[in-house]
Amino acid sequence: MAAATNQAKPIGLLIAAMGGEGGGVLRQWLVDAAMAEGFAVQSTSIPGVAQRTGATTYYIEMQGPDGGDEGEVGARRPIMSLYPLAGSVDIMVASELIEAGRAMQNGFVTPNCTTLIASTHRVYAMAERTAMGDGRFDGAKVVAAAGNLAQQAVLFDMEAMAQEHNSVINSVLLGAIAGSKRLPIPVAGFEAAIRATGRAVEANLAAFRAGMAAVERGDLAALVPDDDLKRPWHADPPMVEELQHRVREEFPPPARAVLKEAVNRLFEYQNLAYAECFLQRLMPIERAELEAEGHGELVREAGRYLALWMSYEDVIRVAQAKLRPERQARIRREVGAKAGEPVRIREYLKPGLDEVTALLPGWIARPLLAAAEKAGWRDRLNIGMTVNSTALWGHFLLSTLASLRVLRPLGYRFKSEQVLIDQWIDNITRAAALDLDLAMEIAACQRLLKGYGQTHRHGWDSFNRIMTTLVTPALSGVGDSGADPRGAALTIALARDAALADPDGKSLGAALQSEPKAEIAAE
C-alpha cells in the first residue's frame, strides 16, 4: 500500500472560549451544518470546571464526501483526532483577544494552514483586574502576532456586534467562520443549523449575517486606543473663559487640552479663584521647563496630576458627582433602562472619621484624630448607609453635603492638602532645573494617592516614603542619587511601580532597600 495513498486530512477546527459564552452551542451549529452536508464529523470538548468562567476549548474535525465516504457510519470513515495538532488546525476560533494569543502561544496558528477568527474585545483576567495600577496585557501584541502567524486573520470586536443585535457572541463567530469561506458549507447550511436550535433564532441570524458581512467587507476595525474613549467631563462654563484664554496664551500647545479640562473641573470643584490658583501653581513649572528646553510634556503631566490632587475626593466632591445631571442618563444607558421605566438609584456610602474631620477646623480635627488613633478606632468609627439619590430625602441629603463646598476651605483636610501640594510643586520645579525626567517622575508620584480611608492613607504612606528616601536627597544633591538625577528618576519610577505592586507595601519596602543597586543599574 505505502503510506498515504489518500493524503486528504479532515478539516480541523479549534474553538477557544470561556465558560458561559455559548461555545457548546457554536460547536453544535458547526456539527449540524457539516452533517447536513453529508460530512463525517467528530467533535469533542473539555468543559470540566472551565464551565465556571475559565478558559476552555472545543475541537471539531470534519471530512467531506471527497475525503473517503458519504459520511456513513461504518464505511471507510476517516480516523479523527480528539486533539488539535499544531500545524494542522485549519480554523482557529477565539472568542476573546487573549485567548487568541493563548492559541498562538500553543502553536495552533500556523502560516501553512490556519485561518484565525477572533474577537478583539477583552475579558480581563483576574491578574489584570486586581492590579492597583494598570495591569492590562497589551492587546496590540496579539494583533501583531496574528498578522504574522496566521495564513489569514479575521479580527474585530464580535462582542460589540453581538450586543448590537442583542445576541450572543457565538452567532457572530459563526458568521465570521461562514464569511471566511474556509468551510465547504453553504450559508444556508449554517442558517438552518441556527434555526434548528429554535432559541432566539431571529436575533442569532441577524448577528450571524452581520458577522459574515463584516468579513466579506473586510473593513475590520483594529483595537480602539484608550485615548479615543476619553471625553471631557465638563462643558466650559462662561465664567472660566478668561482662564481658558490664559491657558491658550501662556501654556505650550501639548498641555492645553489637559489644562482646559483641569480648569473646568476645579471651577466646578470649588470656585474660579481655586481654578486660577491651579494655573498660578503651574507657572513656575512652566518656566522651569522652558529654561530646561522642554516642550510642555512636564507642564502637561504636572498639570494633570495637580488637577487630580486639587480635586481630591471628599464627601463634598462625592455628593457633587452623585448629583451631576448627566449621571442619571448615563446610568439609565448603562443598565439599559427603557424610556418610561422608573429607575431607583441607591448609593452605598460609609463616611467615617476621616471624612468628617476633613471638614472640621484643624484645632478640633487634630485632637479628635489623635484620640481615635490612640484608641484604635480610626477605621471603626463610620456609618454605613444606602442613600436613595432618586428619592427626595436622599437627594436632599446629598445636595446639602454638596453645598458645604463653600465651607471646604475652612476645613482641616483642605488646608493640609494645600501645604503638601505646594511642597510637591516646589520639588517638581527644583527637579526640573536638574533633570526633566526627574521632575516628571516626582510629578507622577501623585498616582499613588488613590482611594478612600485606609486605602488612601496607605497611598499616602507610600508617597511619603518615596519623597523622603528618594526625592529629598536627589534634590539636595547629597548621596549618589543627588549626584545622578537621571538615575534618581529611574529609581523613583521603579519605587512607584513597586508601591502599586501590592496593597501592603511589601514590594515598596524591598525596592527602597535595593535602591542603591537600582541606581548603579541606571548608570
Partner: protein, 709 residues
C-alpha cells in the same frame, strides 16, 4: 437538576436500524440498555456526570425495561451495589470519576473482586486525567491489577466504545470478574455516531424479580473462602478472561508494510497515535499506517502470546502508554523476556513519563523513537521535520507575544453565594489575623485561587473537617474547615462532624449549602428542596448536625458580609471550646438563574411588573485602587479604559451580566472602601403607583436643582 435531558433520552430509545448521534458518555448509557442491565448506579463528577443525569430524566424508559437507577450518595455506595451481581444473574453497571471516586469505592471493590460475580458487573470510569481535569493525576490501572479486575480502554470512537461495553459484560460473566471501562475526558465528550440496536430487559429485573435467595459461602469474603477466592482468580478467572479476549479479538491489530518496527498503544490513544503518524507522513487519515499498530482495548490482563506474536521479528516497538508508573511497558518487557524475544521496547524516554499524551506529545515521541531506531524504509529526516517546524514556530510566537499571557483559572460564577463567605474571611483577617483554612472539594475550592488565595489543604471530598483534626490542636488559633452540602452527604457527616464531636474537637466548620452538587452539574442532594420526583426528601443538614450533638450552630445569610463576619468572629474568638458550625444557606446562583430567567421572561411578556436589580460604579469617584475587586473577584466586576482625560489607570466597572446579588456593595461597607458603588432598581412594566412616585420625584428634584443653581 435544573436542566432537562429530554433530547438525549430520545436517543436512548433508538433501536435496530437507527443511527445514534451524540456524546461518548451517552453512547455508553445506550450501550448499557442494549446489554440488558438490571440496575445502574453511580456518583456524578466530570466527565461521566451525564450518564446519571440522562438516566434520571429517563424514568419511563427505565421502568419499561425494569432497570433500577440508584443516584448513590457516594462512590462507595455505588460500588457496593454491584454486590447484586455476586449471587444473581443480574447485569449491573456503576459509574464515577476516577481515580478519586475509585479510591472511595475501593473497600467494596476489593471485596467484590475477591468474591467474583455471576452477572456481568461493569464500572464506567471517567479517567479525569490531563487538560480539563479537576483532580490529582493518577491512573486507574493500579486498582485493576491489585484486585484483578479487568480494565478496558477502548479506541475513542463510538462504535468501539459501544462494542466494548457490550463485550465487557460478556467478559465479566465469562470470567466471573467485575470489569472496568475507562474513558478519558475527551472520549466522554466526543460527539460521533454508531448503529444502534434494540434495548434489552435483563432476565431478572424490577418487572421480573428473583424469587429465591442464593446462599454460597464461597462467595463470602471470610476465611477460608478468601484463600480459595484468591486461587480462583489466578487459576480460573484470569485464564478464562485471556481466552475470551483472544477469541473475541478485543484488541485491534492493524497491519503495515514496515515489519522492522511496530507500535503498541492503549486503545484510548489510538487516534492520537494515528494523527501523529499522519503528520509524520507515515499513515493516511483513513487508518492505513506503514508501521503496524497493536491497539490494546484491554489493558489488563495482557494476552502474552498476542504481544509476543506482534513483536516477533521486529527490532523495536514504540510503547504508547499514558501516565505512570509504566505498568504496560514493564509488563510487555517481561512478556518478551519470557518469550526470549530481543525486540527493544521503547516508550517512556522519547515519550514523557508523566502528563497527558496529546497528539503533539505522541508526535514528538514518535520522532524520538524513529531517530533512535532509524528503521529501514523510513526517511527519518522527513518524518521528524514537523517537530522541528513546530519548535521554530512556537519560538516565533513566544517572541512576538513577548511577556506571558495572563492565565484564566476558573472562579466563582457571577453572583455566586459562596464568594461572600470568603470575602468575609479576608476582611476579618485584617482584624483578627489569618488562620489555617482546611478546604474541601466543590465549587468552594476556588477560594484557593485568586483573588482570595484562601485555603491550605484539600484532602478529598467531604474531608474538609476531618483534615483539620490534626492541625487544630497543634495550631495557635482556632482553624476554619469548609465543607459543601455535597461533601457533607458524601461522607462529611461521619468522617467530619461525627469524628470531630466524638473527639471534642475545637474548631469552626463552615457548611456551604447551595442545594446541589453544583460543581458536577447541579445534581440533587438529600437536602435539596426538590428531589428527583419533585418532592422533598426532608433530609436536613441542620437536623443531622444537631442530632449528632453539636451545640453551637449558626445560620448565616451569605450575601450579608457584615453578619457573616459577625458570626465568624464569634465562632473564631468565642471562649468556650467545641465545634462551631456555620451553615451558609443560599441557592447556587447558576441554577437559580436557570430557573428564574424563563419565569421573568414570562412575567414581562404578560406585562406584569418586575424589578431588575444590578450594581454600578461611578467612574468619576472610582480612583482605581481595586480593593473592591481583590475582595470579590466577581466576573461582572471588572475594569475598562478610563474615560477621564486626566487619568490613565483603568477604572472599575460592572458589566451587564451583573445579577444584582449585592456583594460588591456589601464589601464596600464591610471593608469601608469607597463611595463609588450604587445599586439600581429598574422597574419594568411599572404600575400606576410606580409611575406616580417616579413623576413626583422627578418634578421635585428638578425644582431643587433649579433652586440650587
Amino acid at each position: 437538576m435544573e436542566r432537562s435531558f429530554a433530547k438525549e433520552v430520545k436517543q436512548l430509545r433508538l433501536g435496530q436500524g437507527d443511527t445514534f448521534h451524540g456524546e461518548g458518555i451517552l453512547a455508553v448509557t445506550k450501550a448499557l440498555l442494549q446489554s440488558g442491565v438490571s440496575y445502574v448506579g453511580g456518583y456524578q463528577g466530570a466527565p461521566i456526570s451525564h450518564l446519571m443525569d440522562v438516566l434520571v430524566d429517563a424514568e419511563d424508559l427505565l421502568s419499561e425495561l425494569g432497570v433500577h437507577l440508584e443516584t448513590s450518595t457516594s462512590e462507595a455506595a455505588a460500588a457496593a451495589m454491584l454486590g447484586a451481581s455476586i449471587n444473581y444473574p443480574l447485569r449491573g453497571a456503576v459509574t464515577w470519576k476516577s481515580t478519586v471516586g475509585t479510591n472511595v469505592a475501593s473497600d467494596a471493590l476489593s471485596n467484590l473482586a475477591s468474591a467474583g460475580v455471576t452477572g456481568g458487573a461493569l464500572m464506567i470510569l471517567g479517567e479525569d486525567y490531563g487538560e480539563g481535569s479537576s483532580i490529582l493525576q493518577e491512573r486507574t490501572h493500579a486498582f485493576a491489577t491489585k484486585s484483578q479486575m479487568w480494565l478496558l480502554d477502548p479506541r475513542p470512537d463510538l462504535e468501539t466504545i459501544v462494542h466494548m461495553v457490550e463485550k465487557g459484560f460478556e467478559l465479566s460473566e465469562a470470567s466471573n470478574t467485575p470489569v472496568m471501562l475507562e474513558l478519558r475526558i475527551r472520549a466522554c465528550h466526543v460527539h460521533g455516531a454508531f448503529e444502534a440496536s434494540d434495548n434489552k430487559a435483563g432476565t431478572y429485573n424490577r418487572n421480573n424479580v428473583i424469587a429465591e435467595p442464593v446462599h454460597d459461602f464461597s462467595r463470602i469474603t471470610l476465611p477460608p473462602s478468601t484463600y480459595a477466592q484468591e486461587k480462583h482468580k489466578i487459576e480460573v478467572r484470569m485464564p478464562e478472561a485471556i481466552k475470551f479476549i483472544r477469541e473475541n479479538q478485543l484488541n485491534d491489530h492493524f497491519e503495515g508494510d514496515l515489519d522492522e518496527v511496530g507500535i503498541i498503544c492503549m486503545g484510548g490513544l489510538y487516534n492520537a497515535t494515528l494523527r501523529a503518524l499522519v503528520q509524520a507522513g507515515l499513515a493516511d487519515a483513513t487508518g492505513n499506517s506503514r508501521i503496524p499498530i497493536l491497539a490494546l482495548n484491554v489493558t489488563y490482563p495482557l494476552v502474552a502470546d498476542e504481544i509476543s506474536d506482534f513483536c516477533a521479528g521486529k527490532s523495536a516497538i514504540l510503547m504508547v502508554e499514558e501516565g505512570q508508573p509504566d505498568y504496560l511497558e514493564e509488563a510487555v518487557n517481561v512478556i518478551l523476556r519470557k518469550a526470549d524475544l530481543q525486540t527493544k521496547v521503547i516508550g517512556k524516554g522519547p515519550l514523557p513519563m508523566a502528563g497527558e499524551y496529546t497528539a503533539e506529545v505522541v508526535l514528538r515521541g514518535l520522532a524520538g523513537f524513529l531517530e533512535q531506531v532509524r528503521p529501514a524504509g523510513i526517511d527519518v529526516e522527513a518524518a521528524t521535520q514537523p517537530v522541528r517546524e513546530l519548535d521554530r514556530h512556537k519560538a516565533r510566537a513566544a517572541e512576538l507575544l513577548g511577556d506571558t499571557l495572563p492565565a484564566r483559572p476558573p472562579t466563582f460564577c457571577t453572583g455566586c453565594p459562596e464568594r461572600p463567605l470568603f470575602s468575609a474571611i479576608r476582611i476579618l483577617e485584617k482584624d483578627i489575623g489569618p488562620t489555617h483554612v482546611s478546604c474541601d472539594i466543590g465549587c468552594h475550592t476556588f477560594s484557593t485561587l485568586p483573588p482570595f488565595n484562601l485555603g491550605h489543604t484539600v484532602l478529598g471530598y467531604g474531608l474538609g473537617l476531618a483534615s483539620a483534626a490534626g492541625v487544630g490542636p497543634n495550631f495557635g488559633k482556632r482553624v476554619i474547615s469548609v465543607m459543601g452540602d455535597g461533601g457533607f452527604w458524601h461522607n462529611g457527616i461521619t468522617n467530619g462532624v461525627g469524628s470531630a464531636l466524638f473527639n471534642k474537637a475545637d474548631g469552626v466548620l463552615m457548611v456551604v449549602k447551595n442545594g446541589y452538587t453544583s460543581a458536577t452539574g447541579w445534581q440533587y442532594l438529600p437536602s435539596t428542596l426538590r428531589s428527583r420526583d419533585g418532592r422533598s426528601t426532608g433530609s436536613s443538614i441542620e437536623a443531622v448536625i444537631k442530632s449528632m450533638g453539636a451545640r453551637w450552630l449558626h445560620n448565616v445569610p451569605n450575601y450579608k458580609v457584615g453578619s457573616v463576619m459577625k458570626s465568624l468572629r464569634k465562632a473564631l474568638t468565642g471562649e468556650d471550646k467545641g465545634l462551631r458550625v456555620l451553615i451558609a444557606d443560599s441557592e447556587c446562583q447558576l441554577a437559580r438563574q436557570r430557573r428564574i430567567k424563563p419565569e421573568i421572561a414570562a412575567r414581562l411578556k404578560n406585562g406584569e411588573r418586575d424589578v431588575r436589580t444590578r450594581f454600578g460604579v461611578d467612574e468619576e469617584t472610582c480612583t482605581g485602587d481595586r480593593a473592591c475587586i481583590r475582595l470579590s473577584g466577581c466576573p461582572s466586576l471588572t475594569i475598562k479604559a478610563n474615560p477621564d482625560p486626566l487619568r490613565d489607570d483603568p477604572v472599575t466597572t460592572i458589566l451587564d451580566s451583573c445579577v444584582g446579588c449585592g456583594l460588591c456593595g456589601e464589601v464596600t461597607h464591610a471593608a469601608v472602601l469607597c463611595p463609588s458603588f450604587y445599586k439600581v432598581d429598574i422597574v419594568r412594566n411599572p404600575n400606576l403607583w410606580d409611575r406616580f412616585k417616579d413623576g413626583l420625584h422627578r418634578k421635585l428634584l428638578g425644582d431643587m436643582a433649579r433652586v440650587r443653581v
